[in-house]
């Protein structure tokens, strides 16, 4: 293997697994250290800068960072990154003074944002400090999009959402709520300099062809529409026996909301095997905790109605079979169909985009799936002044992805309005700074604690099931948060090796607790990964290969299970190893935080 080029910022970025996995690349270890230092405000602002909705995401994020967490590779559970984020949000001081200044003199460019969800709000957050005039349109009575209509209050209190939406709208965004845009042409004709479409994936899939669907209609609801109706107070109860169809997070929200609106026997029924359900493991766990059983391998056959009223559903019991390519086929077991009694059915089997409001003669191209043609880097459509982001761009994803796309779309819109190359992106802002304080002292907590993941306490179930607005999770206490924060391995404090200082005493190789370091003369061989002190079988993790040393060996470090404990650097007599903090910030349209945060 060739010597590693650590001047490429992506090399060290990839070592910070959590940050690398996050669509918005939030500097996770940095804010966890700030939480440990009890500087919750600064921790919040590090988040806010990157992901715009720390309070919301600290409760509801899909957490792509956690499965990536290195801690999960050396023990059972990753660091509770998401819930630590909530600690920062819940315990920060007033941050209004840290919000960016908004120029009173505008730059003369007008932007329309369609939909007030996370993507649009991110665009507004990034462009307002630059002097843009922004009109925000949404059909709901307040901003937040699906964060307001689809995430139940027992997971995300309205106050938390309002606060973070207000930070943005208070920048002077012209909000047009309760305003459904039924024509893109109408907006285009208003002469905006740029238009951003962040309308999400607002249409829930239905089972319209299933027997009995029309007859039982008054007791059959589309999951996301029903959740929205509950959120806005239009629906206040549901029948005693409820079937929720679907295995995703919306299904989990539906079943748990049902339990709070009068559902006594709520059952989640999915087509697939249990392991293949799309819902996040913790959401499934929370649903089970509320006494909700899951039936898997049940394919809906019919809605059963008696006297014009829905009374049950019929299911075919199936088994999953896989061909040699791993494709799944659900095959009927041939057993007699299973009848499950019900008063109401909630269908939560997926969401779709809906662009009926976009005229097809505007010059905005649609592809064969009837989705707009959108550039994956710039988020620009084929109609040059129209940009897309969030679920509206490439179909249903999650809040953090919408935020990440909003940031990129904002860069493109700024470039477009200023006559620059829309595709141009500034390199990420990076710093790499030694953490050495003394001979064997680091400015980060290098010792690795053995604690297992701390459980987030929950409110008493007898209370939470009575009122859909009582938040179930209580959040970590500050003491527990500190302990959980200590579990973070500080993966952003990089092990940096300087060849010319090394005297090849092997001390680092001897001390490394996880056998990451090998001095070898076989560094040019193809099977290098098998010829290290411990085989480097995790191919998704890089090898750090040095230039050849004096004895014609090279240092090879497998990044996979490095604990970032700093022992290699402590045992190095010549400081050939150093622990250096690597900060990586994706460039945004503005650096929207004031100094001193």
């Amino acid at each position: 293997m060739k010597p590693t080029d650590t001047t490429n910022p992506e090399y060290f970025h990839k070592v910070v697994d959590c940050q690398y996995a996050c669509p918005a690349h939030t500097p996770v270890p940095e804010y966890i250290r700030l939480i440990a230092a009890q500087n919750y405000t600064a921790a919040y602002m590090v988040n806010w800068q990157s992901n715009v909705f720390p309070g919301v995401l600290g409760r509801t994020c899909d957490r792509p960072c956690e499965p990536a967490c290195r801690r999960g590779r050396i023990e059972d559970e990753p660091v509770a990154i998401c819930r630590l984020k909530r600690v920062a949000a819940d315990n920060k001081k007033d941050v209004k003074s840290l919000m960016p200044d908004i120029p009173t003199e505008k730059n003369g460019k007008r932007i329309a944002l369609i939909g007030a969800g996370p993507a649009s709000l991110t665009v507004a957050r990034d462009l307002m400090p630059l002097g843009y005039t922004i009109d925000l349109y949404d059909n709901q009575k307040a901003g937040g999009g699906m964060m307001r209509s689809q995430i139940p209050s027992f997971r995300l209190p309205e106050t938390v959402l309002n606060e973070e939406v207000d930070y943005i709208t208070d920048m002077g965004v012209n909000t047009h709520y309760d305003c459904y845009i039924d024509s893109l042409k109408g907006i285009v004709n208003q002469g905006y300099d740029a238009i951003f479409v962040g309308t999400g994936a607002p249409r829930g899939r239905d089972l319209s062809t299933l027997e009995g669907r029309a007859q039982g209609n008054s007791n059959i609801h589309i999951g996301i529409d029903w959740l929205s109706s509950v959120a806005f107070g239009h629906t206040e109860k549901i029948g005693k026996k409820v079937i929720v169809l679907g295995g995703g997070n919306t299904a989990m929200d539906c079943c748990r909301t049902s339990r709070r609106l009068g559902g006594k026997e709520v059952t989640v029924i999915v087509r697939s095997p249990f392991e293949e359900m799309k819902a996040s493991p913790w959401e499934k766990e929370d649903a089970k905790h509320e006494g909700i059983p899951f039936l898997n391998n049940h394919v809906p056959m019919a809605f059963v109605c008696e006297a014009g009223k829905l009374v049950a559903m019929k299911f075919d019991k199936v088994e999953a079979h896989y061909d040699k390519d791993g494709n799944r086929k659900l095959v009927s077991t041939g057993e007699t169909p299973i009848l499950v009694e019900c008063d109401d059915v909630l269908i939560a089997i997926g969401q779709q985009n809906s662009f009926t409001w976009i005229e097809r003669d505007l010059g905005l191209e649609f592809n064969k799936w009837d989705m707009p043609v959108v550039d994956p880097v710039t988020f620009q459509s084929t109609l040059k002044q129209v940009f897309f982001g969030g679920d509206a761009a490439f179909g249903p994803e999650n809040v953090i992805t919408a935020v990440a796309q909003g940031h990129q779309a904002a860069v493109s819109i700024d470039h477009y309005c200023q006559g620059k190359d829309v595709a141009e992106r500034l390199a990420p802002g990076t710093t790499l700074v030694s953490q050495k304080m003394g001979i064997h002292q680091w400015s980060f907590d290098s010792p690795v604690v053995n604690d297992v993941r701390y459980i987030v306490p929950q409110a008493d179930i007898s209370q939470t099931l009575k009122n859909r607005k009582i938040e179930v999770e209580l959040g970590y206490s500050l003491d527990t948060a500190l302990q959980e924060a200590q579990r973070c391995l500080n993966c952003d404090v990089q092990t940096v090796f300087t060849e010319k200082l090394c005297i090849e005493c092997d001390a680092c190789q001897d001390i490394c607790p996880t056998d990451c370091i090998t001095f070898t003369d076989k560094y040019e061989q193809d099977d290098l990964r098998q010829n290290l002190l411990a085989p480097a079988n995790n191919l998704s993790q890089d090898l750090y290969v040095s230039e050849p040393l004096k004895t014609k060996r090279a240092l090879v470090k497998d990044e996979d299970v490095c604990l970032h404990c700093g022992l290699c650097a402590e045992r190095c007599p010549t400081a050939a190893w150093d622990m250096q903090k690597f900060i990586y910030n994706v460039s945004h349209a503005t650096h929207a935080t004031k100094a001193g945060a």
Binding site: R73, I74, E75, I439, H440, Q441, S446, P447, V448, N450, I503, E504, C505, D506, A507, Q509, D510, I511, P513, T514, D515, C516, A534, P535, N537, K550, T551, V561, L563, C565, G566, L567, E570, R571, C572, P573, T574
Partner: protein, 350 residues
């Protein structure tokens, strides 16, 4: 400064034949200077014991005083240990070995502990052929007392203080050969590929196995004009041979070209296979070993590798004909068999 090593280890850490991982052979974290050669030697001992699948409770570590003698704390944390008086480790080892011949004895000493204050004891443990591995972690200076020249420092070598050593050095390998040691080797802490097989062979050897390991003192004796710094040693090292250690139970499958390799079968059935790099040298001929060492010294080179081995050596217990059973397990009944037995003995002498 870290006083504890993290508990986590590589999740795919292999286990040896008796189900232990390398972690089971570790000790506490070293408090020696960063980069000390001694730590590499400790790592070598850990690796060798792991590879040989030795049960840690079957090992006794013994040492005297000095940086070297602190190291038993840093390996085999589950074994027996005795940190004795300066230069007196051989006596303690002899007593322990006589009491319980079933343990594996690893003595760790330094150049001061062996070539100065313990020089007398060293000579006698060699000539008694006590069954043990005796390692000298040789850095040519007194590291624990700020780096004064030791008795193994070469004439003219300069430590950090800058004064050239005016005295003749003691060459411990030559001493061991002279006094009748039955396994003599020299190695370098910075060359584990050579050191680890030597440690394994020394443990397998029945009798006194001596390894002189040059181990640079990074703090006081890693200067450009020292003859025991990392660079000097690497530049002047000359190996007698490469050594493979094949444990008894392992079937020999690789075949070597005729003439290039020599095999020696050890007392316990394991095999040492040399790939000779040096002509006119026979690992089983004490005088050719002494000549080879002298010849290298004359040329300013440091001869390393296995220098001499007598696979048929008789250890102290065999020499004095003790019983097979460890003496510490003999009960009063064994030792005082009673009047009838005494009468029998007396009768036989009449």
């Amino acid at each position: 400064m870290s006083y504890l090593r993290p508990d986590f280890r590589h999740p795919n850490l292999p286990v040896n034949d008796i189900g232990f991982t390398k972690k089971d052979y570790e000790g506490s974290i070293s408090t020696l200077c960063a980069g000390c050669g001694h730590d590499s030697i400790s790592a070598g001992i850990i690796q060798a014991c792991y590879d040989l699948s030795i049960e840690p409770h079957r090992v006794a570590k013994l040492s005297g005083i000095g940086c070297s003698s602190k190291t038993p704390t840093y390996f085999l944390g589950n074994s027996h240990g005795f940190n004795s008086v300066h230069g007196r480790m051989p006596s303690v080892a002899t007593g322990a070995n006589l009491a319980n011949r079933d343990l594996i004895y690893i003595g760790v000493s330094g150049d001061g502990d062996t070539a100065s204050i313990g020089f007398g004891q060293f000579g006698h443990v060699v000539r008694r052929n006590l069954n043990m591995l005796y390692m000298v972690e040789n850095n040519g200076c007194y590291g624990l007392t700020k780096g004064q020249d030791s008795a193994t420092s070469d004439t003219g070598s300069q430590s950090k203080k800058g004064a050239a050593n005016p005295y003749e050095p003691i060459d411990l390998v030559s001493m061991a050969l002279q006094l009748g040691a039955t396994f003599v080797a020299r190695s370098f802490s910075g060359d584990k590929d050579q050191l680890i097989p030597l440690i394994k062979a020394a443990i397998a050897h029945s009798g006194f196995a001596f390894i002189d390991v040059i181990s640079p003192c990074v703090t006081f004796n890693n200067n450009p004009k020292s003859t025991k710094n990392y660079d000097y040693v690497r530049e002047h090292i000359e190996a007698t041979s490469t050594v493979d250690f094949v444990p008894m139970k392992q079937e020999i499958t690789t075949s070597y070209q005729q003439g290039s390799s020599t095999e020696v079968t050890m007392h316990d059935g394991s095999v040492l296979r040399f790939n000779k790099l040096k002509q006119d040298w026979d690992p089983q001929d004490r005088f050719s070993a002494m000549a080879a060492v002298n010849d290298a010294t004359q040329r300013g080179e440091i001869l390393t590798g296995l220098l001499y081995v007598d696979p048929q050596s008789q250890d102290l217990h065999e020499i004095i004909n003790t019983v097979r059973k460890p003496l510490n397990s003999l009960t009063e009944k064994d030792l005082c068999p009673g009047n009838v037995a005494l009468e029998k003995i007396n009768e036989s002498l009449r």
